[in-house]
């Protein structure tokens, strides 16, 4: 298995884990942050497969605009006594649906995967510094929001 496949597996696992974290966290503000991380990971999967335009659209239009507004809303209307908001009865239909879809997906004949293995190297060579700055900027923005909310004690 090549590096791109391993990276894709790791990113898929990370996206599901952060989505679960958004579901299970009591605080809505952190839930919004975890949701943003999930969407950025999904955007990162596009970047990994050398589909940069969609990465830019998701990371900067969707997460940058809508995600940031959601985080700001969650910070403004933050509950002082956060509580777990999960109705466990809904896990049952979700698990049944997942099992049915999982079975349908793997029930088909295996189709060839043509994700380019040179995607990472091409991207890293051309846009390494740019990507580094983008991620640093995103992390700094998130840290600034967390610091602001903690200082205000909302």
């Amino acid at each position: 298995m090549d590096t791109v496949s391993l990276a894709l597996i790791a990113m898929c696992c990370f996206a599901v884990l952060t989505a679960f974290a958004a579901l299970f966290t009591k605080d809505t503000f952190y839930s919004a942050l975890f949701m943003s991380v999930t969407l950025l990971t999904i955007a990162g999967m596009y970047a990994l497969n050398n589909i940069q335009p969609v990465f830019v659209l998701i990371a900067f239009i969707f997460v940058g605009a809508i995600g940031a507004v959601t985080v700001a809303l969650a910070a403004m209307y933050r509950d002082t006594r956060p509580k777990l908001q999960i109705d466990f009865i809904w896990f049952l239909p979700a698990i049944i649906t997942f099992a049915i879809v999982f079975n349908s997906i793997f029930g088909f004949e295996s189709a060839p995967s043509v994700f380019s293995s040179s995607a990472v190297s091409a991207f890293v060579e051309e846009y390494a510094v740019l990507a580094l700055f983008f991620f640093a900027l995103a992390i700094l923005l998130m840290l600034a929001v967390v610091k602001f909310v903690r200082r205000e004690g909302v």
């Binding site: 599901v16 989505a19 958004a22 969407l39 955007a43 969609v54 809508i66 209307y77 979700a94 995967s113």
Partner: protein
């Protein structure tokens, strides 16, 4: 194999968003769950980019999906802010059926 993995991940995130939407008691959480579901849709589009003949169409669908969902969520955010100003609450219990006030 990687295409299947992407699709299974997409379904998992979609169902997590679904569970979150069904059990949320705050409008902000409802918004977060919708964004997770849209994220799953974006991920489900990725296998289209593996078919050479479909790449241009896939990009068109992706652009359309991202901008449509973004606009839809902005309208929802505006509705939530209006709701909050009117009722001083973000609870889903205060939302009546059919959008009645």
């Amino acid at each position: 194999m990687m295409v299947y993995l992407v699709l299974v991940t997409s379904i998992a995130i979609l169902l997590i968003g679904y569970v979150m939407a069904m059990s949320s008691k705050e409008l902000v959480r409802l918004l977060i769950s919708l964004e997770l579901m849209f994220g799953a849709v974006f991920l489900a589009l990725m296998p289209l980019f593996t078919v050479q003949n479909l790449i241009t169409s896939a990009f068109g669908i992706a652009v359309l999906t991202i901008f449509t969902s973004g606009g839809e969520l902005m309208i929802l955010i505006a509705a939530m802010v209006t709701f909050s100003k009117k009722f001083h609450s973000f609870s889903t219990d205060d939302v009546t059926a059919g959008g009645e006030l």
